[in-house]
Amino acid sequence: MSSHDFITPAKMARGLGSAKSGTETHIRQRVSAIALIFLVPWFVYSIINAMSGDIVDAQVWAAKPWNAILLILTAGAAFFHMRIGMQVVIEDYIAKTGTKSALLILNSFACIALFVTVALSVLKIWIGAGV
C-alpha cells in the first residue's frame, strides 16, 4: 500500500460497485420524460389530425413554424428517451459482452439516425413551403 498512501479507501472503491455508473442516465431519462409529458399529448392530437386529411393538409400542418419546432423537439426528446430505455433493456437481458456491445451500438446509431431523418424531413417541408 505504500505507493497508495495518499489515496483514501473510498477513492479505491469508487466506481467498482455493481452498477459502475448510471446516475446521469437515470436523471436524463427522467428529464426527457418530463419534456415528453408536454410534447406527447400535442403530438398524438396533431398526428391523428394530420393523418386524417390528405397529403397537402398534412404538409401545410407540418410547415407551420410552431408545428415544425414542436415536431423536431418531440423527435429529439423521444429518440433520446428511447435510446436510454432500449439501452437498459439490452443491458438487462443480453449477457454476452460481444452481442451486448453490438446491440448497444446499433441502438445508438438507430436513434440518432431516426432523429436526423425526422429533423431533415420536417425542415424540408418547412423550407419547401416557403413560410
Binding site: V40, I48, Q59, M86, A95, S121
Partner: protein, 132 residues
C-alpha cells in the same frame, strides 16, 4: 465473466417463475413492453414523415395501410401503448420525485386505473376521430 462457472457463488436474484403474480409487477412489465413497442412504432411514424416530405406515392401507400384493418389495429395498439407508457411514466416520476403513491394499496389501485385509462382512452380517441 469469461467462464461459465461463477468464481464467486453469490446468491442470484429470484427469477420470474418464483415471483407471485401481482398487478404492480404486471404494470412494471407492461411499461417495458409498451416502451419497446413504441421504439419500433417510431420507425413507422418516421416512415410517415419521410413520405410526407419526399414522395406522394409512398404517402398514398402509407395512407392505404393506415385505412386498412391491420393499419387500424396497429394504430389502436399504438394509442394504447402511448397512453399506458405516458400514464405509468408519470407515476414513475411521482414515485421518484415527491414519493407519491408508493404504498402497496395505492400502487395496486393506480395500476388497474392505468390499464383502464390506456384501453378506454385509446377507444375514446378512435371514437373522436375520423381516422376509422
Amino acid at each position: 465473466m469469461a467462464t461459465t462457472s461463477r468464481a464467486d457463488p453469490r446468491p442470484l436474484s429470484p427469477h420470474l417463475q418464483i415471483w407471485r403474480f401481482h398487478i404492480t409487477m404486471a404494470a412494471s412489465i407492461t411499461h417495458r413492453i409498451t416502451g419497446t413497442a413504441l421504439y419500433f412504432g417510431s420507425f413507422l411514424i418516421t416512415a410517415w414523415i419521410v413520405a410526407l416530405a419526399t414522395n406522394a406515392e409512398w404517402y398514398s401507400v402509407i395512407e392505404s395501410v393506415i385505412s386498412a384493418w391491420y393499419g387500424q389495429v396497429i394504430l389502436f395498439l399504438w394509442a394504447v401503448a402511448v397512453l399506458y407508457h405516458f400514464a405509468n411514466g408519470i407515476r414513475h416520476l411521482l414515485w421518484d420525485g415527491p414519493h407519491i403513491g408508493f404504498d402497496p394499496k395505492t400502487a395496486s389501485t393506480v395500476s388497474v386505473f392505468i390499464y383502464l385509462f390506456a384501453v378506454f382512452g385509446a377507444a375514446a380517441i378512435f371514437a373522436a376521430t375520423t381516422l376509422l
